[in-house]
């Protein structure tokens, strides 16, 4: 680090600094910060049109000439007064108190030209931190369409900081911004703060938040300064006429049509996931079948053969089949966020949400939880009141996440496929909607009870921007969708792969004496099939089921069988439920492994659906009935079966007590709901 040689080589001055320059990217939500961050670093990141989705600190390497700058993407902010967690995080970074991050050398403030006054408020606060600021002025073309003429030279002169117009998506102004930011970061000259009479920086003053009057005076002083700047640098425009967004709002937040459209959009999303995604899913399914068969015939029989064909290909393949559905869901969520519709949905639903004591802002975390509870729980950081935030976190996992889709889809495909109500609505779609509705219903009741008891607090405040409608950037939406898909695939390749192997081993060992014999038969069959493709015996090979029953997994499953029998589950389902505590979608891969044990891949080998439909108990009655399937679906709607979610809750609440509480209350609810479904169903005469 401390190479003194650098001093003698002046021709590479950029390398002389021991640590790279640090630049922070700050801006209001929806100001185009994420697009700019992507343009500067090329790093992937989620973009949204609703406050606070970019909560995680994102960093990127930004090369400007020879210099390599570390770019930190701060969360979307309206101010720096540390009322919300986002603001606290940003403050820590700007004051150099954030762990393993030095105080930034410069800040790029992303300012939306169509919303100049409120965006400049954050800029005044940033300047008070004493770090040099460069303004990246975005959405200039949109401002011009609204007849807002912004004199950026004048703006720069009045604020005494550089103002660069950028169009990040087209890379316009990026070079100029880079050069200016580098120059500013190297300059070390603190900005002048002329609006605060006492010259205090907010870093000092806001430590005494109790003095409300002083704080309000500061806010007033900043806005007074901004109004002066605004009047001098912007041509006034008549804003009495409804603009583009307000005209769209005329329909989308209409008292009646707004709600109809909201329901229609949700229906469209679910319909798309369940019918349009079927074709690619079938293709993937047969693809993995062919792969398993190919590998099965190419490898010598034995333990490794069984591991790869029955453990890995069956387990991981069973999960990757659901990729098209997950892509579809993320596509819709991205579009809804990026267009600005999510905020409207929160606006429409706030009154209903507030009835159960939730904040309208809880809508986005809960909606995101339909994809995955983890980003959903992280998105609750925008909720300022701690109790409201906790209530939202505690009910978020009731929203049916994408990991439950494979479970629902499998059950529906096996027991309710092709059935219709009124001749045209598929039972599958109705059931699927029903599962989502059940989760929402239980969440509402849970929220209501939580807010009346342990999380009691006065009605939460609700102040939320309705951002202008914008066309989603196709590249950003696709990028977001594929980033999510990649995370899913990575999970399939790591966690699910590991679990598949462990489960396979749990079911494969210990090897009994009779089973050794069965292995010989299987080997013989395998060698036969290579040569003359004889018909295999049925899957329900007594040796195979005996092996599973005597395996570690079988012992575990049978231990819990008495507890789950009233729900309609046998010990095999018990094994699958235990395995899926790691992640819900593991249920499907576990079932594939359970029902494929001893079956070598072949065109006559039954698919998982077939295996479930035909599985028999010892007495010859079917293990699975439509009622069992329904009971299992209900259990999966409500049970807290996701280790990753629990880990995130631990991190976000900073307490194991909430983790244990969440796991406990959800499991209890799931058990009794499932019990009610199965026993109630039997009472009513269903099977």
């Amino acid at each position: 680090m401390r190479e003194s040689i650098n001093a003698t080589t002046p021709n590479i001055p950029a390398q002389t600094k021991s640590a790279p320059l640090v630049v922070a990217l700050a801006g209001n939500p929806n100001a185009g910060k994420t697009t700019l961050f992507n343009a500067l670093t090329g790093l992937r990141q989620k973009i949204a049109n609703y406050s606070g989705v970019t909560v995680e600190r994102k960093e990127g390497n930004w090369s400007v000439g020879d210099e390599n700058i570390k770019l930190i993407d701060l969360p979307g902010l309206y101010s720096l007064d540390a009322t919300s967690l986002d603001e606290q995080i940003a403050r820590e970074v700007l004051m150099g108190r954030s762990e393993d991050l030095p105080r930034p050398d410069a800040i790029i403030a992303v300012v939306d030209a169509t919303n100049l006054e409120r965006n400049l408020y954050l800029v005044t606060q940033l300047l008070e931190y004493g770090i040099p600021v460069v303004i990246a002025l975005t959405m200039v073309d949109l401002a011009e369409k609204q007849n807002l003429e912004i004199d950026s030279a004048k703006l720069s002169k009045l604020l005494e900081i550089p103002v660069i117009r950028v169009k990040a998506a087209q890379r316009v102004g990026i070079d100029e911004l880079s050069a200016k930011a580098l120059e500013t970061a190297r300059s070390d000259q603190p900005p002048r703060v002329k609006w605060l009479s006492n010259g205090h920086h907010s870093g000092d003053v806001h430590l005494s938040l109790s003095d409300n009057d002083a704080v309000n005076k500061q806010i007033f002083a900043r806005y007074n300064f901004i109004s002066e700047v605004y009047q001098e640098s912007v041509q006034p425009v008549d804003q009495s006429e409804a603009n583009f967004s307000e005209r769209i709002d005329g329909i989308l937040t209409h008292k009646f049509f707004g709600l109809v459209i909201l329901v229609a959009i949700l229906l469209l999303v679910f319909q798309a996931i369940f019918s349009w995604a079927t074709l690619p899913m079938d293709l993937l399914d047969s693809g993995f079948g062919v792969l398993g068969e190919f590998v099965g015939t190419q490898m010598p029989p034995g333990i490794l053969h069984d591991l790869i064909v029955d453990g890995i290909i069956a387990g991981v393949g069973g999960i990757l089949i659901f990729l098209p559905q997950i892509l579809m869901l993320f596509l819709f969520i991205s579009i809804l966020e990026d267009t600005g519709y999510m905020a409207r949905a929160a606006f429409l639903l706030d009154k209903l949400m507030s009835r159960v004591g939730l904040h309208g802002k809880a809508f986005l975390p809960l909606m995101s939880s339909f994809a995955c509870a983890i980003p959903g729980i992280m998105a609750t950081r925008t909720i300022e009141n701690r109790r409201d935030r906790l209530a939202t976190i505690l009910i978020a996992p009731f929203m049916s996440c994408s990991a439950r889709l494979p479970v629902y889809a499998l059950m529906i495909a096996a027991f309710f496929a092709g059935q219709t109500v009124f001749g045209f609505i598929s039972v599958g779609a109705v059931l699927m909607l029903g599962m989502y509705a059940l989760g929402i219903f239980v969440a509402v009741i849970a929220a209501f009870i939580l807010k009346k008891t342990i999380l009691k607090s006065p009605p939460p405040p609700f102040v939320m921007e309705l951002p202008p409608y914008r066309l989603p950037n196709l590249r950003t939406v696709l990028q977001n969708m594929f980033t999510r898909a990649w995370l899913f695939i990575k999970r399939a390749g790591t966690v699910i792969l590991a679990i598949s192997i462990i489960l396979w081993a749990l079911m494969y060992f210990p090897r009994g004496a009779e089973v050794q014999g069965s292995e010989v038969t299987v080997q013989n069959e395998a060698s036969q099939s290579k040569t003359n493709k004889v018909q295999k015996p049925k899957n329900e090979d007594p040796f195979v089921s005996q092996q599973l029953e005597n395996s570690f997994a079988g012992m575990l499953g049978r231990t819990i069988e008495p507890a789950i029998a009233p729900l309609g589950f046998d010990w095999k389902i018990g094994v699958a439920i235990i395995a899926s505590f790691a992640a819900r979608e593991v249920l499907v891969s576990t079932l594939s492994i359970i029902y494929n044990v001893g079956a070598d891949a072949d065109e006559t080998s039954p698919t998982l659906i077939k295996a479930i439909q035909t599985a028999k108990k010892a007495d010859g009655t079917p293990v699975w009935t439509p009622l069992t399937a329904l009971s299992l679906m209900v259990f999966f709607v409500l049970a807290m079966q996701c280790m990753s979610t629990l880990a995130v809750v631990r991190r976000e609440t900073n307490s194991w007590a909430w983790v244990i509480f969440m796991f406990g209350y959800m499991t209890v609810i799931a058990y009794f709901a499932s019990l009610l479904t199965y026993q109630g169903g039997r009472f009513l005469g269903f099977t």
Binding site: D81, T114, E117, N216, I219, Y223, T253, K351, S354, E384
Partner: protein, 83 residues
């Protein structure tokens, strides 16, 4: 809601009609929320317009400093308006 006659013409944002324009007189002290309102640009002297109310009557949508903001009536009652 009609008990504000004592001060003559004291009005809050909550009793401004849809489409009406008002000028902010002051923001009542109400902890973090009044600070948040001011940070969003609702400071004394600024003009705002009530755009609409949500389907169930609450929250309301206002236009201030060229952008749209939603808030509950409860919050709107903290904003004193003069005409």
């Amino acid at each position: 809601m009609k008990n504000n006659a004592s001060e003559g013409k004291v009005m809050t944002l909550a009793n401004l009609e849809i489409g009406a324009v008002g000028k902010v007189e002051s923001v009542l002290e109400n902890g973090a929320i009044s600070k948040r309102l001011m940070e969003m640009g609702i400071v004394p002297g600024v003009e705002l317009k009530v755009v609409k109310t949500a389907p169930f009557g609450d929250p309301i949508q206002i236009r201030v400093r060229g952008y749209n903001l939603a808030m509950r009536r409860n919050e709107a009652e903290a904003i004193i308006i003069s005409e």
